[in-house]
């Protein structure tokens, strides 16, 4: 008698899809440990509820919807927001666009809309990995002034991101 494979097809597909989910989450939290925890949460929530034989497109949509939900919970928990306050912050955590990786050209486009100083401080700090001291030396400034500029530049980058998505 023909034996059917033990592993459900939908789960197999979902495992491969979780690679995409991981990249999606990593692009938003910026570190491996949190990305792994959140991907695990997505898997645990979504996998048992997936029907056998579901098409890959349905599985992907389901996983990314779950990933958005998990990310929303992550930010609200880490920032100590209440349930009601969480609602206010969902726009930040839930991208309206379809899931996609944070592309380098998107980052360049955002940086390109910042003033020269803001763009420079973020490029040196984030893209080239300079320390504050190195950034200060490069920009003929002080560490304290660079810290302030970095914060203002990040606020400005977030604003550009909101306006362009």
């Amino acid at each position: 008698m023909l034996q059917l494979p033990m592993a459900p097809r939908a789960t197999d597909i979902a495992l491969n899809e979780l690679e995409l989910v991981y990249a999606f989450i990593y692009a938003r939290v910026g570190n491996r440990a949190d990305a792994e925890d959140l991907t695990q949460q997505v898997a645990m929530k979504a996998i048992p509820r997936l029907r056998e034989g579901a098409p890959a497109s349905a599985i992907r949509g389901y996983l990314f919807a779950t990933a958005r939900s998990v990310l929303g919970g992550f930010w609200s928990t880490r920032l100590g927001l209440s349930e009601a306050e969480l609602h206010e912050n969902l726009a930040m955590a839930v991208p309206p666009a379809p899931p996609s990786e944070e592309r380098a050209d998107t980052v360049q486009r955002i940086l390109g809309q910042l003033s020269d100083n803001y763009r420079r401080v973020l490029e040196l700090r984030f893209l080239h990995g300079y320390s504050l001291k190195e950034v200060a030396a490069e920009m003929n400034s002080t560490v304290g002034a660079v810290k302030v500029m970095q914060l203002r530049a990040l606020r400005a980058a977030a604003k550009v991101k909101e306006e362009t998505t």
Binding site: L15, R28, T39, R51, G73, G80, N89, P96, K161
Partner: protein
Amino acid sequence: MNKPEIRVDKIVSDLLRGRRLRLRGGDAEEKAAITAAARLVAARQGSQRMNPAFRKRLESSLEAAPQEPWLTRRGAFGAGFGRWAGVVTGGLIGRAMEPDSQLTPGPPGRLGGELINPKPGRWTDVAALADLVEGQGKRVTAGGVGAYLFRRGDSVNAVSSICSHLPCELSWSSGAGMLNCSCHPVSFTPEGESTNDKYPLPALNAVQVRVTAAGRVEVLGTA
């Protein structure tokens, strides 16, 4: 209390060293800067794949996961499990939901639509009654509560600005006279009820609103 630039730089430095996001309540003020920093750090590293050891752990835990029977979100609500499911899975918005293609029709009627009751709450002046146009939704915020206001004569009703299906911001479509979800093709009436006949989603949560004697509209939000 650290100055914000010092606090944000600490978070940035941790991220650049590959550490977790260690945040605290006061960081909410700089949430936009922090999320921008996380995205920039990730962009620097490019698209990431799972570490092989993590993938193996994930596979093992998936194999050990119980194969739960289907439980629709509506079923959970009907059984009074909505909030309980949220607690179990780690947060209200963390409730597991089935994909749209898997939704099954059920009995019609208004579902969900709980009253948002912030604690501690505070009445916030959000608009003048005279500024609200009948038949048009107006998006307002009261602390952490986002809502759409709808005027009916001298009274106003308010519903949450968050979809009851997925935690996505709704947008007001003046042409259609509906609140549309930005994540899925679903919409709600100004009363907060789902317009989908085949699968009526839970109604939007209701937001507490009042009109003062001076003609000001106030919403109960977070303190």
